[in-house]
Symmetry: C2
């Protein structure tokens, strides 16, 4: 499966796009020879590279290849010397790009592919004046190049088809998604769509229908949230509940005549056109069969990602959760028996690649139950800021039997012991309908002053609740395995 990447590439231009390419190549182990006569070009590329290293460390735990070597060179000829691929990312001026590509094509070996990162110019215009134009093409990426997957590959009239195939493989090998554009057209595909949105956004601001912030919010919090999961056409199809694209066009077609955007010219909805779009949409739906539940799971995954960054819709979710927490009464149980967490249904995404729920989820369940207990005894934001909080010192997890996707899991939490500084907890993970526990988690928490991080004593009503609960739990049988050491066998 692993593709042989070029050993070295020549980059012409080290701006935002060229620098992004440099990062993508270098972190995939490819040497880069960079030509950019602008002062400070190397600094800019180094800065982008530092961002990319940081992003990749967060993105993946797979070991990356040894980073390629970055060399700033003094001429186009020097940049393309001995390389296996040339990528041009100069400013968007036809004459400048032509000159760079022509010079590069004369200096590079005749079979070295030469790609332009242009975001709008047709490849045929760029091939004029080049040596061996059959290896010249457009490979248009998106900012930041080291993270955005799409690269649009556009042939000019002279481009050899197998050059496209070769390039698609190389970009795919570097973690990108190559899309071969069928016809030569200004702006290719993605930018034509992006441009349509940009124009309408400008009209909205111009006509005082919305401010810049409101336009952006209207997108981020609505259809923009679906965009990483499905494009505009599948979205419209799904809005009709999978009744097919003919039905979708019947329903949404009439709106195309309404003044629902500034620019309203649309293709005529002839039978030929309707047949074509319906057929292509069916093919897509077959290849990419997304159910409502799968759509929801993807949206949830995106919302959770955004919540971890407290950004846009993620911030909305976090505030909602805070409201729920604030609104929920937290009765301290006169219950006898261990504290019971709310029951959770195991989502299918908890399954690891080996088809099992990994121990990290057992820990997540224990953490959830610990937080539930702390809530119950009154450790809230107010207590946190005035008196302190509990941190986990030790955790001992035992995976006793498999938890399956769809299992309804409840955690029973018992205080093994508690003093002014510590709580020793035992969590028993139970699955609805099963007698034997699925797992066990033991934790020791320590009470600390949040500012200094030093241990200190629990105070006030939290102390009272804790001790009362500890006394109740001391009457219960001690959970099996508590305080046991780890051993084989």
């Amino acid at each position: 499966m692993s593709v042989r990447l070029p050993r070295a590439v020549g980059l012409l231009g080290g701006g935002v796009i060229g620098g992004g390419w440099a990062a993508r190549f270098l972190l995939n182990g490819v040497d880069v020879r960079l030509y950019d006569p602008a002062p400070g070009a190397l600094d800019q590329v180094q800065r982008i590279l530092a961002n990319a290293r940081r992003a990749y460390r967060r993105l993946t735990q797979v070991t990356l290849p040894t980073e390629g070597a970055l060399n700033l060179v003094q001429s186009i000829e020097d940049a393309v010397f001995g390389v296996e691929l040339v990528q041009e990312s100069a400013p968007e001026r036809l004459e400048l790009k032509r000159q760079l590509l022509a010079t590069a094509s004369r200096a590079a070996a005749s079979d070295v592919p030469i790609c332009s990162s242009t975001s709008s110019i047709r490849a045929s215009l760029l091939q004029e004046g080049t040596d061996h134009p059959e290896r010249v093409l457009v490979a248009h990426p998106f900012n930041p190049v080291y993270l955005m997957p799409l690269v649009e590959l556009c042939a000019g009239q002279h481009t050899a088809p197998d050059t496209l195939v070769r390039m698609a493989e190389i970009y795919r090998g570097m973690g990108m998604h190559p899309l071969v554009v069928r016809k030569e057209v200004d702006g290719f595909i993605a930018n034509r769509l992006q441009e349509a949105l940009w124009r309408e956004a400008l009209w909205l601001v111009n006509d005082d229908l919305a401010t810049v912030q409101e336009v952006d919010d209207a997108v981020c919090y609505s259809f923009g949230l679906r965009r990483p999961i499905m494009g505009p056409l599948l979205t419209y199809r799904m809005a009709c509940g999978g009744a097919g694209m003919r039905k979708t066009m019947e329903r949404f077609g009439p709106y195309l005549k309404w003044p629902l955007s500034k620019l309203t010219d649309v293709p005529e909805l002839t039978d030929t056109f309707l047949d074509k779009i319906a057929e292509q949409s069916d093919a897509q739906a077959q290849a990419d069969n997304i159910t409502e539940q799968e759509r929801d799971d993807c949206l949830v995954a995106l919302l959770q990602g955004l919540r971890s960054r407290r950004r846009t819709a993620g911030e909305t979710v976090a505030r909602w959760e805070q409201g729920l927490r604030d609104g929920a009464a937290q009765p301290i149980g006169s219950d006898v028996g261990p504290l019971r967490s709310p029951t959770l249904e195991t989502p299918s995404e908890w399954l690891g690649t080996n088809g099992r729920v990994p121990e990290s989820r057992y820990l997540e369940l224990c953490t959830f139950a610990t937080n539930n207990l702390l809530s119950c005894i009154g450790v809230d934001r107010d207590y946190h800021s005035k008196c302190g909080s509990y941190y986990t010192l030790e955790t001992h997890l035992s995976d006793l039997r498999e938890i399956r996707a769809g299992d309804r899991v409840q955690v029973l939490t018992q205080i093994v012991s508690a003093d002014d500084e510590h709580i020793h907890l035992a969590h028993v993970l139970t699955v609805e309908g099963q007698v034997d526990p699925a797992g066990m988690g033991e934790q020791v928490l320590i009470h600390v002053d949040v500012g200094s991080g030093r241990r200190c004593c629990v105070q006030g009503s939290v102390r009272e609740c804790l001790m009362k609960l500890a006394r109740v739990h001391a009457e219960l049988p001690r959970p099996k395995r508590a305080s046991a050491g780890i051993a084989v066998g």
Copy 2:
């Protein structure tokens, strides 16, 4: 902070949107009286509600309020009886909506807000013929209503401003993001933008520039991936590296004259317009100061979410990682000393809400190191399918000192003992520049047959590598704390 939500709402229409509203209200603890004369309406709402329950269980671990009661009623009057809010979600036909709203307004108490979910019709047109039109407005949500945050609030000419304020609070209290639209306009804000994209997409298919699948892919894998994080205007601003919107318009303005989309009419770039957009964009950038690193962190979070679903760009990342794994040589070290994992820099998102790296990340580091060890002894997909794999039986984590964001962490892994069925590992978490370890993780793994889940013996070259490494590690000093039980103090 927690808003009092209505006790009960009346819903007119139980289709995709009405059903989505029902789910959002019910799961936030609000009773729903539903009027929909279509056969099967209740079933459809129940199905959407089941999807929503499932999605919320995955989205949040916060305890939801007790679910509201859903009642199907036989008339509009019955639906609005005793409720505190009416939400109409009938098909997009003016006369039908007018009739529903007029009837509801006569039957409901005079101060009950009446909202229409229309996606395009202006509120003033809907107010005609209603009693107390000052409480009639548009509240336009997006599908699926129980997950998508945006709701556009649009007043008609009679709507009282405080009705908008009240409604914004209620929707916010249910986890939504209300956006008050400044002027009455067909299609409001989000749908005008979505419509622009839809028209351009139809042209692309019509003109055979791309298929349905290619149009959608071009969006999902490129600018669509940025959309949950930033809208179109902030995106263009950032493409100019934060030089401001005037600069952005100088750079991208000329392209507006290029035929980069089918529909090319744009506002005149007068000084007045440029001043306005620049000023609004500055205000946005100040309120919503996103750095390149923050953008990258958000993109990474989205990519990780998509990878967990193996969808679109997430699938691209997963394939790239597989390629890296396949391509990487896995030398079994003639090193003496414990096995060293690749060094990881602690990302800032590892910090929990209390400003500490939680124990779940200690476990993540240990799991990473365990997988590294298994890789080294040759447990790969091939071995997995033919001979078996290792599962974790027990884990004991000790959090010895704080790990800080930005710390460079390496895990030293030592085999404490190994037999044909077990491996007992000790992981020591070290921070670059610190002598004392930050944490310790002990794990017992068991070798199992993946199909049956039963324990079995390690085989072949994996066994050889394991035993060789175990012999080398047996010569090392036994790590402190290994095999210790948990205890307070």
